[in-house]
């Protein structure tokens, strides 16, 4: 009898999470870092129908809610990756002509890209995909996200006009063949191009990897009236102050542990100069976990932990123009939260749970988050 009751209880316990798949979920943890407002310790987040309904010291627990308790854990918003190629394999390099402002990245989506699930497993809830660097004007970027089961969704299809000043845009057998030529093309053609950019509300996304490219980008940044975002690496260490002032934000890629102390300090210097920063994972070329690695390296270079977390979440969302949907734990935003064992800007912190759109990313959803941040697809028939 006792045993039967117990097994019944176990059965109920097993069914409850399935009932919660609709997206009602309560997460209680040692600390909740909302990023946009107060932090709570202890704290709790309530997500209803995929959106955040309440956050505070404690929240009401609706019937049939899935409850996740992590008394030691730290809850933070899902990460926002400000630049990668996930969800658009083999569709990005339309480089025969230099000026292609009307290309749309959202036309080239590939929902079967296996890297989508890896983004989820690394805690990335939302990401920007830029057209590849083959053109001077490369078309409109898109902000993408995934459901907990790995289905690709477009959050914003016109997320800015991509401008590339890197060598790859002018080393082809066509005009332009130099950075100078690229700038001339942009200045000549930029009136309609910027009109196109004005139609999308985030302006221009400028890709540069060297200081001389940034110098050219600064001229454009001025023309775009502060509506330009700079996409760069830590190599552009001499233009920190100017870039922090001229651009609405700077996105860093490849800020990885092998960088020298001088270079890893570049993101921190940007913040000190009053700039807004975000990070880019460069997945699938690099693993999805490179996003957090950039933040960790920047912290090593002197960036405050909370500033690093802001760069991973709200700042990125603001630069991509999706801060009304994602980027912080506040009522009405999408229910993307992560549970870490420590502050995520601490290198020792482990990612314990991923909740995407109010749904726990679980083995039952087909995805298992491993301690290494990798992903395995649930086997079909093994017990």
């Amino acid at each position: 009898m006792m045993q039967r009751t117990l097994s019944l209880l176990l059965l109920v316990a097993a069914i409850t999470p399935l009932c919660a798949q609709g997206g009602t979920i309560v997460i209680r943890a040692g600390t909740v870092i909302t990023v946009s407002g107060e932090n709570y310790s202890p704290g709790a987040v309530l997500i209803v129908d995929g959106r955040i309904a309440a956050v505070g010291k404690d929240v009401a627990e609706p019937d049939k809610a899935l409850v996740i308790n992590h008394p030691e854990g730290v809850v933070v918003p899902g990460f926002v990756d400000a630049g990668c190629g996930v969800g658009a394999r083999r569709g990005l390099a339309e480089s025969q002509r230099a000026m292609m402002p009307d290309l749309r990245l959202a036309d080239a989506l590939d929902p079967s890209d296996p890297a989508i699930k890896r983004q989820l497993a690394a805690g990335t809830s939302t990401w920007l995909v830029l057209p590849q660097d083959g053109n001077v004007l490369g078309g409109r970027a898109a902000v993408l996200r995934a459901t907990a089961t790995g289905e690709l969704k477009v959050l914003k299809s016109d997320a800015g006009l991509a401008v590339c000043l890197r060598e790859r845009s002018y080393d082809r057998e066509r005009e332009p063949t130099s950075l100078m030529g690229a700038l001339a093309l942009l200045e000549r053609a930029s009136a309609p191009a910027y009109d196109a950019a004005a139609a999308v509300d985030r302006g221009v996304l400028v890709g540069c990897h060297t200081d001389r490219e940034v110098a050219v980008a600064l001229r454009l940044g001025a023309r775009a009236k502060g509506r330009a975002v700079l996409f760069t690496t830590a190599d552009t260490c001499d233009s920190v102050d100017a870039a922090a002032k001229a651009f609405s934000g700077t996105v860093f890629a490849r800020v990885l542990p092998e960088l020298s102390d001088r270079l890893s300090a570049v993101p921190a210097r940007h913040v000190a100069a009053g700039g807004v920063i975000a990070f880019s994972s460069a997945a699938p070329e690099l693993p999805a976990s490179a996003l957090r690695l950039c933040a960790l390296t920047a912290v090593r270079g002197g960036l405050a932990q909370d500033a690093a977390l802001r760069a991973l979440t709200l700042s990125a969302a603001e630069l991509l123009g999706v801060a009304d949907q994602v980027g912080s734990i506040s009522s009405g935003k999408l229910g993307d939260v992560l549970v870490f064992s420590k502050h995520p800007a601490d290198a020792r912190a482990q990612l314990l749970r991923v909740v995407q759109g109010g749904v726990l990313v679980t083995p039952h959803g087909g995805v298992v988050v491993t301690p290494h941040g990798g992903v395995v697809v649930a086997p079909a028939s093994k017990e």
Partner: protein
């Protein structure tokens, strides 16, 4: 001698054209799911005059014994009758709405004869997929003697995906063969730019070049746009462009993997012509301990040379199954299917390449079932002429994976006729419709059945051996 024989048959046919011919068989599959048994089909003046389960009399009665009659098959996505087959492209530009493939169609080409011998009586012949807007496609008969008038300009082909970009370098070059699209994104850009240019010219009332008139016809609903969509991602792109550009009549074609987009196709009412569904894919899926190993690129990279190696194995196995009394593929057990898969997987060449293993993904060969369940108007298409890739083989394969057999037959006959807008004359055995039919030695969906008689517009083009007096 053979020529003489052919001539004789021709003469006989001509003489019999206005007389009433009656075909007698054990069963007739009408094409709409209904079955008449036993069956007599009366034909006169190129049309069916009566279908009955009681004896009909005629000037000539062709007794097909235990045979089963089906309407002539319709392949809605074919490159038969073209000397260069699927490689028939105009590559000088990316957008060539003015070209019409029908001018090149040779009804006496061996590829057409082979299809006719399989029971395929009508084709939508289409250009290759190298251009973004590839030109006009056209409905044509497989019989060289057909007198049916052709409605020109009824279909305009648009290619999505990577085909128009394949092999184009991203690095400039100003030569004739240096073409622009070199990405999925660039292909869609070309489609959108072409249609919006025409839309703007229409709005402004400015003159439009004659070359661009097919686009005008498409926007006005005077012609149907056939979107070449190999997988779901292209189907979704097509649906988005259809909404964005307000194109009234559309078909998605050539789909190797489509079930993920079933609900969206149903919601927009866009019909689907499936693409190649071959044995090798089936083998890939079954050969992995029951898990569905779906080739990452769909079927695009599985070449026909593999099929030649695979197919005899499968044929032999099916023959063995038939000998054990398992005549219908749907009756085969899971283990037997698995064995078949194992055999195929051992064939050299099959199994290489990037694969993803995902139990949530619907296997390619069950997609016909999934699409039908979702209520999508869909048909088999893209049949080849090597063994194992015949149009009928696709239906047999799908039936094996759980598609209702009656539905499978209508997806070769009435459904494609509806999709192509020719159901008034083609697609089912009904009084008043064209007398296009095929008689099989047994159930058409059983792999051991073979066509014994094919008739197009009242002319017998393939005869039962007995009736030839051999």
């Amino acid at each position: 001698m053979k020529k003489m024989q052919g001539l004789l048959v021709l003469l006989l046919c001509a003489a019999a054209l206005d007389a009433q011919t009656v075909i007698k068989a054990a069963k007739a599959h009408l094409g709409d799911g209904r079955v008449v048994a036993p069956a007599w089909v009366a034909v006169s003046g190129g049309r069916i005059t009566e279908v009955s389960n009681e004896a009909l009399s005629g000037d000539e009665v062709v007794d097909c014994g235990a045979g089963e009659i089906a309407p002539g098959f319709i392949d809605g996505w074919s490159s038969a009758g073209l000397a260069r087959a699927g490689a028939e492209n105009e590559e000088g530009r990316e957008v060539t709405p003015q070209v019409n493939i029908a001018a090149l169609y040779e009804p006496r080409h061996v590829s057409v004869k082979r299809r006719l011998a399989q029971g395929v009586t009508t084709l939508l012949v289409r250009p290759g997929t190298r251009a973004v807007i590839a030109g006009a496609a056209q409905v044509v008969p497989t019989s060289p003697q057909s007198s049916t008038p052709r409605h020109e300009g009824a279909f305009l082909c648009v290619t999505l995906g990577l085909d128009p970009a394949a092999g184009n370098s991203g690095g400039g070059g100003q030569g004739f063969y240096s073409r622009r699209p070199n990405s999925r994104m660039g292909v869609v850009y070309d489609v959108r730019t072409s249609f919006t240019q025409v839309q703007e010219a229409l709005k402004a009332g400015t003159a439009i070049e004659a070359d661009w008139m097919p686009l005008v016809a498409a926007l006005k609903g005077e012609c149907t746009v056939v979107w070449y969509t190999e997988t779901e991602k292209e189907i979704w792109t097509a649906l988005r462009l259809i909404d964005e550009l307000h194109i009234p009549h559309n078909i998605c074609a050539g789909a190797v993997r489509a079930s993920g987009a079933a609900a969206d196709l149903k919601a927009r009412g866009v019909p689907l012509l499936l693409g190649e569904q071959h044995w090798a894919q089936y083998a890939r899926q079954r050969g992995r301990g029951g898990m569905d190993a779906v080739h990452d690129h769909g079927a695009g990279t599985l070449h026909s040379e593999h099929l030649h190696e695979v197919e005899p194995e499968v044929r032999a196995r099916l023959g063995a199954l038939a000998a054990q009394g398992i005549t219908h593929p749907i009756d085969t057990s899971e283990e037997q299917l698995f064995d078949l898969g194992q055999d195929c997987c051992m064939a050299p060449g099959v199994g290489a390449g990037e694969t993803t293993v995902d139990k949530n993904r619907v296997p390619v060969t069950t997609q016909a079932r999934e699409l039908v369940r979702a209520g999508v108007l869909c048909a088999f298409a893209g049949g080849g002429d090597s063994a194992g890739t015949h149009l009928l083989d696709y239906a047999r394969l799908a039936v094996r994976d759980g598609l209702d057999p009656a539905r499978a037959l209508s997806m070769l006959t009435l459904e494609p006729a509806r999709i192509l807008g020719i159901a008034k004359h083609k697609g089912s055995l009904e009084a008043g419709k064209d007398a296009d039919l095929v008689v099989f030695s047994g159930d058409p969906l059983v792999p051991t059945s073979t066509p014994v008689l094919v008739m197009t517009e009242g002319r017998i083009v393939l005869r039962p051996a007995a009736a030839k007096g051999e």
